[in-house]
Symmetry: C2
Subunit: 105 residues, 2 copies
């Protein structure tokens, strides 16, 4: 559930969103997109949580991998559907992970 | 709920965690730390969601601001308590936001 990522540097796309009410078909499409992202070249991992606010962070080995994923046809269709039907508001932040550390009991 | 951040570059601390069962006192401490973070110099915003996995992303104007927040005495106490009592596993990723864009209906 917590992504296992390589040693930095790598990239993180932080996607935060608020859904409209009655977001029919959203979860199905969301699961489909996660499955599709995992098949992309340069994909490193993904983490997701949602209450009122949803946060999904996906990790990538390069900016090119992020760009290719953005240009994927099915992903582009899903994003357009997201704007027209599911999202009330969202923010995308593309960031370079410079340092990381973890803890496990 | 979605943080209003300035034009990039700025920094994001991506904190993902899994709690132990019976995490007594966690929510109270978590709320306290958010309130305290908001008072720090260089703090830009915070976003949080939790299901099984918790994701908190805090935004900062510099690495120094992140370092100062890490060294805050109350925050240090809370982190130690987190390791001993609340977290089963966590990961901290310090990243530089290079680009962002948003959407609002």
């Amino acid at each position: 559930m917590i992504a296992t990522t390589p040693k930095p540097p790598y990239y993180a796309v932080i996607f935060t969103s608020i859904l409209v009410e009655g977001e029919m078909g959203y979860e199905e499409m969301s699961n489909k997109m996660v499955a599709l992202a995992k098949k992309q070249e340069g994909f490193l991992g993904i983490e997701s949580a949602r209450n009122e606010l949803g946060i999904t962070v996906s990790y990538w080995d390069s900016l090119l991998a992020i760009k290719n994923w953005k240009m994927d046809v099915d992903h582009t269709y899903a994003r357009e559907k997201g704007r027209s039907s599911w999202y009330k508001k969202f923010m995308v932040r593309i960031s370079k992970v410079e340092r990381d550390y973890g803890f496990e009991k």
